[in-house]
Subunit: 335 residues, 2 copies
Amino acid sequence: MSTIKDVAKRAGVSVATVSRVINGSSRVSPATAKKVRTAVAELNYRPNLLGRNLRKTRSERVLVLIPNIANPFYAEIVKGVEDVASQHGYSIMLCNTDSDPEREKRYVKMLKSRLADGAILMASEMTGEELTELSLEIPIVQCCEYKAGLPITHVSINNEMAAYKAVKHLIGLGHKKIAFIGARNQFLSSLRRKEGYLRALEEAGIDFDPACCAYGDYSYESGFRIMKQLLKLDPRPTAVFCVSDMMAIGAIRSAMEENLLVPEDLAVCGFDNIHFSSMFKPAITTVSQPMYDLGCMAMEALINIIEGKKEGTAEYFLEHELIIRESTVKQDSVC
Amino acid sequence: MSTIKDVAKRAGVSVATVSRVINGSSRVSPATAKKVRTAVAELNYRPNLLGRNLRKTRSERVLVLIPNIANPFYAEIVKGVEDVASQHGYSIMLCNTDSDPEREKRYVKMLKSRLADGAILMASEMTGEELTELSLEIPIVQCCEYKAGLPITHVSINNEMAAYKAVKHLIGLGHKKIAFIGARNQFLSSLRRKEGYLRALEEAGIDFDPACCAYGDYSYESGFRIMKQLLKLDPRPTAVFCVSDMMAIGAIRSAMEENLLVPEDLAVCGFDNIHFSSMFKPAITTVSQPMYDLGCMAMEALINIIEGKKEGTAEYFLEHELIIRESTVKQDSVC
DNA sequence: TTGTATGCGTTATCAG
DNA sequence: CTGATAACGCATACAA
């Protein structure tokens, strides 16, 4: 492994000159520049990032903490993050926390140890206090999931409105007994979606029945299990709003096991518009979040903070869209 | 941000002593150790990784290049990689290449720039020559997909045998006209799976029909599109072996559009046993790769190379399993 | 335009 | 057991 010194020696110049040629930081005569470049090529030299980062006290690297890389929802967000990052010369480190606070802490520790210039947090398990403290030490942005009332920039959608529109769609189809499969956690999105559900019900003059509400963890399995229980209610719900597509698919499989038809016997609405939601049979009615744009916006906001272009915290809300498919409305066309 | 100097000053000792306490590298008297520790706590000091890495010329970090984080198949592998890595004090950087050679090159450049001590490559787009050259510079391991005949350690399954067993299963069900949806790429797995398909056919005395073979990119869309074409054959294939579950699901949706029943009119076998393959209706018959173990093994092999415990290259083949579900055999039970 | 010298934060070597 | 100091590889202020 050759260093900048080796290059300097071979080119017969000082290390400073080599550095200048590599970084284009100031003018170097074409002749010496050429000498340097050939030396670089001959030695197959690559600047050592460890040295460069230390010298600059900046890594031009950003951590992206995601709770679960297996969730395709996050994959699309990450694409947006990556694209904006590379446009600005940043590289990203994906960190899969598995929603495990210990794992998350390990990554946060790396962050505090200056391994990266900042971070995007997707669904942090940290307390509001911990988050606030972290944000004082190093630039962070919350994406999608966020804790309320914190002085931390976040990017999200209007979850209350999204849930309201989804449930209103079900009501518009004539449903009166609409179940709700939410998420058992303290994220604001969970609260807001429940609020949207309640508002739609109230507006339609439908009494809220607590027995119709249950809470899972966004997974297929939890949707399956919970729907199983909800279908035992008498009278049975004729529709269900799930706060994730995975749970919606679980709910549908549950209904199938009971020999119920979707959407005829049970209309099912999901949330997220993951790729699979259109592949599944029946295709899932769902709320589409602008995942790619959420990622882009989060990264842009983070860069602004890192580079000091923006002071203070900001809230960004991006547009969502209700996508109606076979799981709520019988359709002729498929795919 | 406080540095080791600040701590030393506050504790009234030298930086060397602080370093010793932090790393436990040599004996320090309990009294001074305590002084140091309180100073560390008071200043909320965290060693700067940039400095430490430079000094050690090691980062205890490993790159994991995956072609597509949206593919749940890789997610499970990454879990294995992560678990072994953290057991050995390594942290991993996930790099999503999107099968884009340019993107991959950027990450490889970081690797060559010593940002990490080594890498696990999942489905590299690099040429054999590039790979070999890279492996000379820095420790790498190929996982799942690999190029043949390279002096690079790899971890995989016996793809020929897996495909053979899958197709033999279809033959055992009485199918005579069995289509093959492979992958259009130069990975050895693609070749081996085709070979397994051919061997099973030959053994059963079934003539190979090139018209029955087509090639996609593992995606749902390609499976859908290709099956559409294959179903136009006369006579129609009564079974199809796909080299990914995603393509199998695409094939099934294609059959559904033609009002064909699965498995009655078309038996479909996939590959990978991704989570969704059991959630789909009908549940997909597939070949299960030990994804978690593949990840573990790859990381263990890499650590051995990095730490110089193992010389030369090795080939590891892990066990696979054929999982029979509804898409090939009509079953009473679901899920 | 180019070279010299310094320091980024840490760990390791060598004395004491 | 502890301290002074060099070195890791690089970028930059300053001098020439």
